[in-house]
């Protein structure tokens, strides 16, 4: 089938502002949007820039705004989009070139919640014990691939770039609800601050955007409750 692919292009060395370019691409219904981007880059215009690596939704490189929704280009098929497809960079992060954005603010927010197990007790000789139920409690957050689909779909993040955003809160949740972790208070500093969880207005965009089907909004609510419970 013939697909009309509209891509929002921007070259920092040439352009004042982004502009749309249209490409006609021959595609199969089961092709990934990533395949179409490759067809443009490899057969029509080598200057098109985008990030990709694994090609099957595990590495988190290729989150883009596809037909108005944040998705991974490698996990979105032509058959689910129709014959006109628009692709733009994810929103709220500075565009560097074409579909590539500056990820540094995103990773800065990630680092702010101390995304690592905090536990200074001397570990046992063997593994720490954890029941399957305790393990299940934080399972959802462990699926996160840091693709930024959630954070860059959040209207609060769009207007207030200092908000740490859903992805960082998901990471915090993953440790807050891990029976082995002792870092609650340390993380609450970032999470309870003016740029933390209270900025969330439960728009649910993040949950809809997550390519890993993590119930992001629910996890944010659980973090809010944990902070409140801690105060009383």
């Amino acid at each position: 089938m013939q697909v009309t692919l509209k891509i929002l292009r921007f070259d920092p060395q040439k352009d004042q502002r982004p502009h749309w370019e249209t490409y006609q691409v021959e595609a199969e219904p089961w092709d990934r949007v990533l395949d179409l981007l490759h067809k443009v880059k490899w057969d029509q215009d080598g200057t098109l820039a985008f990030r990709r690596s694994c090609g099957h939704g595990i590495c988190g490189s290729d989150a883009m705004l596809i037909n108005g929704k944040n998705r991974l280009a490698c996990k979105t098929l032509v058959k689910d989009l129709g014959s006109v497809i628009t692709v733009e960079p994810i929103r709220g992060l500075p565009v560097e070139k074409d579909l590539i954005v500056d990820m540094e603010p995103f990773f800065a927010a990630y680092r702010a919640v101390k995304p690592y197990l905090i536990n200074d007790e001397p570990p046992p000789q063997r593994e720490r014990l954890q029941s399957p139920e305790e393990r299940e409690r934080f399972d959802q957050g462990t699926k996160c691939i840091l693709c930024a689909s959630c954070t860059t779909s959040c209207p609060v993040f769009w207007v207030n770039g200092t908000y740490i955003g859903p992805a960082a809160i998901v990471q915090a949740h993953r440790f807050l609800f891990d029976s082995r972790d002792r870092g609650k208070r340390e993380r609450f500093k970032a999470l309870g601050s003016g740029s933390g969880v209270w900025r969330c207005r439960t728009a649910y965009n993040c949950t809809e955007a997550c390519p890993r089907e993590i119930p992001v909004t629910q996890l944010i609510e659980e973090v809010k409750r944990a902070i409140l419970m801690d105060r009383f």
């Binding site: 070259d11 939704g57 570990p123 720490r128 393990r135």
Partner: protein
């Protein structure tokens, strides 16, 4: 710009992050240079588990794990490496747990373990539960956990820096040159010790489980500089690639009870490996699948694949223990593994060969194990040689933690007593020239077209089954492709995120590692592990119980030297399962 760190690690996958972490714990000033953002690396695609004789589910011993690794490697495995590995991987898994890795758990709270190909109890009698796992995203969790620890230890990262040169002078590693993707600027990195942990090169083949970015960059750079590549003829095809894309479906699916069937519905592995059947090592299973298809028992309209049947498993096992591969099958093929079997065919997966190292990751330059001071390698980029002629499932994740840790510790200690070497702008010259040549070229050859020819021809002439005739043909094709590569040109002349330039550089590396692989495969006139020569179907211990060291002489010309296999506990025997 110039930078200086005591230990610089190239690559931010599992091996690179483990190296960086343990070097930092030794007190070294460490930086990681990666062409990707951390957590984008392909360790994250590893699914099934990390094998260690924890014995949490049933009796197990590191000696059994060592034996399985040596036998799985068709006795080309160096037994000192296998012993160190089988012992230390137990400690490594415990340390990962202490770092917070969310392993699945048994009802008693211990780490859960599953069965996996080639891992057996009692010296091959039956499959054993050895693979510690986190659903079917164990690699993802290892990558995330190691990166989390690197954040905790404040390790410096140069993200999206594409290494273009390793500075080797007077037999010593002095530094690196890397292209900053955001700006197009070349940076000079001064280091006391450099660790190569840049992963494999599955993209030499058309059908592969590997990321687009796995192009053997650093193997090729060292090979061009006259350092050897070891055992490159041994390349693993994973049996269950989602057909036709090649996306990995974990062997854990068979570990949980999945069965391979041909067009007759027959469980054909019973014929090839009567004892452990579908859980035979990957080289055997991949060959069996090719033979089934060749003999007309393939499935589908083209009779060109087989089926992975999970439909007899309880739905909760599939949904809970194999959620990601279930999703891949549903999304990319529209096939629900709960209801119908999944089309699969072998997919290019893992390089057993690579940059030769000692047990501490030091790069060696010849059969006498002479080290290159300051240069280290770990993970898939390296060849220690733990995997021999065929790697067992889960041993790649174990490898990168065990030998990443060793390389990190040794590099940090080496750096303490070493001095920095003088580097100047002149060291950027070679990289600058190569980049300018590509950018300014008006040649008619295109990167994507040449790469597609390479990938198809490698698939046709140098994949699961090989013959002298086909390999000779591929030698000629590679010579021609290398010649045409000199005339490639690109559209993008800009500086910022010139990903077309990166692809052009990567194609050059793919051609180099293909050359080393094909010449080594033509040279080895026997069949062993993943290297199956139809014109030499038998293993020949008399002449070939030795490692290949391939040295580039010029394009199309490769010289060979050989290194003895380190034997020991286990005498080479016929390999049956």
């Amino acid at each position: 710009m110039a930078h200086r760190h005591e230990v610089i690690v190239v690559g931010a996958g599992g091996a690179g992050l483990a190296t960086a972490l343990y070097a930092a714990r030794e007190g070294a000033d460490v930086a990681v240079v990666s062409k990707l953002y951390p957590t984008r690396s392909h360790t994250g695609a590893a699914q099934g588990g990390i094998g260690a004789a924890l014995g949490n589910v049933e009796e197990d011993h590191w000696e059994w794990h060592m034996f399985d690794t040596v036998k799985g490697g068709d006795y080309l495995t160096d037994q000192d490496a296998a012993e160190v590995f089988a012992k230390e991987v137990i400690e490594a898994v415990i340390e990962l747990e202490h770092m917070g890795l969310p392993f699945d758990r048994l009802p008693n709270g211990k780490i859960a373990q599953r069965r996996f190909g080639g891992h057996t109890k009692d010296w091959g009698k039956a499959p054993v539960h050895r693979a510690a796992h986190a659903a079917d995203r164990t690699g993802h969790m290892i990558l995330q956990t190691l990166y989390q620890q690197c954040v905790k230890h404040n390790i410096t990262f140069y993200n999206e820096f594409h290494v273009t040169d390793v500075i080797l002078e007077d037999g010593v590693a002095k530094g690196l040159v890397a292209l900053e993707l955001a700006t197009g600027e070349l940076h000079l990195f001064q280091a006391k010790a450099i660790v190569i942990a840049s992963g494999g090169f599955g993209r030499i083949y058309k059908v592969t489980s590997n990321a687009y970015t796995l192009t053997g960059d650093l193997q090729a750079i060292l090979y061009r500089k006259g350092l050897p590549l070891e055992d490159m003829e041994f390349y693993q095809f994973h049996p269950t690639g989602l057909y036709p894309l090649g996306i990995l479906l974990t062997e854990g699916a068979r570990g949980e009870g999945g069965i391979l069937r041909n067009a007759l519905g027959e469980r054909f592995m019973e014929r090839y490996a009567p004892t452990i059947k579908d859980l035979a090592p990957r080289d055997l299973v991949s060959r069996a699948m090719y033979l089934e298809v060749r003999e007309g028992r393939g499935c589908g309209p083209k009779k060109d694949h087989v089926l992975l049947d999970l439909t007899h498993l309880p739905p909760e096992v599939i949904e809970k223990k194999l959620p990601d591969i279930t999703e891949f099958s549903r999304i990319y093929l529209g096939v629900d593994p709960l209801k119908e079997p999944v089309p699969v065919m072998p997919t290019a997966h893992y390089a057993m060969g690579g940059i030769p190292t000692t047990l501490w990751g030091q790069v060696i330059k010849g059969e006498k194990n002479t080290v290159v001071p300051g240069l280290y390698a770990a993970g898939e980029a390296a060849c220690v040689s733990l995997h021999g002629a065929n790697r067992l499932g889960t041993n790649s994740l174990g490898d990168l933690v065990v030998f990443g840790r060793r390389a990190g510790i040794h590099a940090a200690r080496f750096a303490k007593d070493a001095d920095y070497h003088e580097l100047t702008e002149a060291h950027l010259g070679e990289s600058r020239e190569r980049i300018e040549r590509i950018k300014n070229s008006t040649g008619k050859e295109k990167v994507a077209a040449l790469r597609a020819e390479l990938q198809q021809s490698m698939m046709d002439h140098a994949s699961v089954f090989r013959t002298g005739e086909l390999l000779k043909k591929q030698v000629e094709i590679l010579k021609e492709l290398m010649d045409r590569y000199k005339r490639i040109s690109i559209d993008d002349k800009g500086d910022a995120y010139n990903t077309e330039l990166v692809e052009a550089l990567e194609l050059g590396y793919l051609l180099e590692v293909s050359e080393a692989l094909v010449h080594s495969a033509l040279n080895r006139t026997e069949s062993r592990g993943a290297h199956a020569r139809e014109d030499y179907p038998e293993r020949d211990d008399q002449n070939w119980l030795k490692h290949t060291l391939a040295y580039k002489v010029e394009d199309g010309k490769v010289a060979f030297r050989y290194k003895p296999v380190v034997l020991g506990r286990f005498e080479p025997k016929a390999r049956t399962y």
